[in-house]
Amino acid sequence: MPTLVFDAVYREADASRPLAVIESVRRVQRIVIAGRAARARGVAPGMALAVALTLEPRLDTRDRDMDAERALLERLAAAAGELTPRVSLEPPDGVLLEVRGSLALFGGVEALCARVRAVCRRVGTRARLALAPTPLAALAGARAPRGHAAAPSPVMHRAQLIGALAPLPLATLRLPQDTLARLAKMGVTEIGAALRLPRAGFARRFGHDTLATLDRLVGREAAPRRAVVPRERYRARAEPAYELTSQPALVAFLAPMLEALEGFLRGRQGSITALECRLHHRGGAATRCRLRFAQPAFAAAPIGFLLAERLAATTLAAPVMACELVTSRLVPRRSASAALWQPGEHGGGPGNEAPELIERLRARLGEQSVYGLCLVPEHRPEAAWRIAEPLAHRGAGTAVAADRRPLWLLSTPLPLPSPAGGHAWPQYEGPLEKLAGPERIETGWWDDRDVARDYYVVRSRAAALLWIYRERQPPHAWFLHGVFG
């Protein structure tokens, strides 16, 4: 990545402005890399900042950011995971992909290179590509100066390797500076010349490590690579050029972030069960939007739809300075075949409409507003059921056998006024007519919610059937607990 240093600092920058990245070397600020507009004015890497500013007074400079470079490199490695599972980092500016197995899948060298370039564009950098049978040779090829006579990549066969490497400068191997200087004094500046030197003498003069480097370069010695282990969570942060105030702008800004997430998930063959979107403001706490998916999700479009729903229901306290996406742990993606029949048609399965419906409802109405039911073997009515996660695979639970239960239960029993204290029949929109009862429901010492009640089925004046009870403890208050519906 020849422009990694630049791309890490200037993301989506205006290419027409003169830009440069600077670094302090022995208290002199020097240009590390300059943008195209700045190069056109004569600003070159290594130049002191003062000199560069005289050449181009409007030069916009930023400090080099090693952390951002490393992060960009890792993002690129993660994104390249969609092309091959064997990706390794070559800091500070290289990424190695082992693509022998992917060539047939992606339709040859040209098509694969196009895909790699597309991945780089998505991540926000540009790459110089080189293909070679050994990792070091590929790196050397990629580092070869542009326009150099020798850059006949791709090298597909080992027989062509030494011929292709021979004219490349030794500097592409990134050997220590003094080694390179001593070799240069001997008139050896190209890889081919170094390979022609006698091995024993070479090892004695420049060390076994340098010889081993050459051996790995031409494949005489294996060069095992440590593959990048992709992160188990995904976290991305992006800052918009302007503070975002409206929901549509926010949704539009989040869309490319979600696409990057989808690419990451595709590379890992994974999906996520939850996503948190943090919206950072200038001051104060970040606004957090948490999405939980009824079933693992990976595609950007439905996630974006749910996020938009959730954002529409969120009020922004202040303009948004930065957006951050944090996912749950990855779970392996399970793919399923599509059903031939629509749900509800003869033979149609339940499909994935139910999870989608539940997610959509939850995204707008909130997590707690959508729930399923579950039975609990309990004799107290309020404890005989509980809220359940609708898609959790479980049975319905078991119930204590009881009849004459109302279809509706009041979540908190409604106190009924009784004209003559607890000993007379209560009133509920008029006098009540007893139909059945009493049924005594008692005890609950094990969870400190002891009950002692006599339940009756009554008919109100409006002819609704009600389920009421009287406390057995004084003052014998009456409560409405259910409606037969």
Partner: protein
């Protein structure tokens, strides 16, 4: 089925012929007297039904218990959605009456129209019940279209006062309590009879 092509054509469910009995796919209501009065002999499998009651809890839910039990026993099972119910559906009572508790989905919302439209149109539900005191005819029209999209039975509970408003529902019933049962008046039905009939529930208050 007759071999006569005209008779076969007239059997087509999309053909509406005044008061004649064009066959609609239906579910038995569980009350033979009501079946006889409804077009097709039962609740439609897909479509919007309006139940108008003077207040919640007069027996309108018990009227639906047989069909809900039947729907929740279908394989493969789809869901039963309860949108903005006035109280908590009591799971033990549902189980006692043969309604599969694990296929129920309760949605608490102040905007039942949107949630109902989603539930009906998604195809994930066999039936969706919504309590919508403030429904407008335009909203109901959207629900009717959604039932066709999702092949779902939609049941909307409204106040009796809404009987004066026009409605796009395929079936409109007024339910008032009457002794140990309910009195059901057929206000609107495609091709069905009009009239009032009295239904008795079992002794079990069920």
């Amino acid at each position: 089925m007759s071999d006569d092509p005209l008779a076969r054509l007239l059997q087509h469910p999309a053909l509406w012929r005044g008061r004649s009995a064009a066959r609609l796919p239906t579910w038995p209501t569980g009350f033979p007297a009501l079946d006889a009065g409804l077009p097709g002999g039962g609740w439609p499998c897909a479509g919007l039904i309006e139940l108008l009651t003077p207040r919640a809890g007069v027996g309108e839910l018990r009227l639906l218990v047989p069909v809900l039990a039947r729907l929740s026993a279908l394989m493969p099972a789809r869901w039963l959605a309860w949108i903005a119910p006035p109280f908590e559906p009591f799971a033990p009572a549902l189980a006692e009456r043969g309604i599969a508790v694990e296929r129920q989905l309760v949605v608490r919302t102040a905007a039942p129209l949107w949630a109902m439209e989603q539930a009906l149109g998604s195809g994930a539900c066999e039936a969706a019940l919504a309590w919508m005191p403030r429904a407008r005819p335009r909203g109901l029209r959207r629900l009717q279209l959604a039932t066709e999209r999702g092949r779902t039975l939609g049941i909307v509970f409204r106040d009796s006062l809404a009987a004066r408003e026009p409605s796009p529902a395929v079936l409109r019933l007024a339910v008032v309590p009457c002794g140990a049962g309910v009195e059901v008046s057929l206000l609107k039905s495609r091709g069905g009879a009009r009239g009032t009939l009295c239904l008795r529930f079992g002794d079990n208050c069920a």
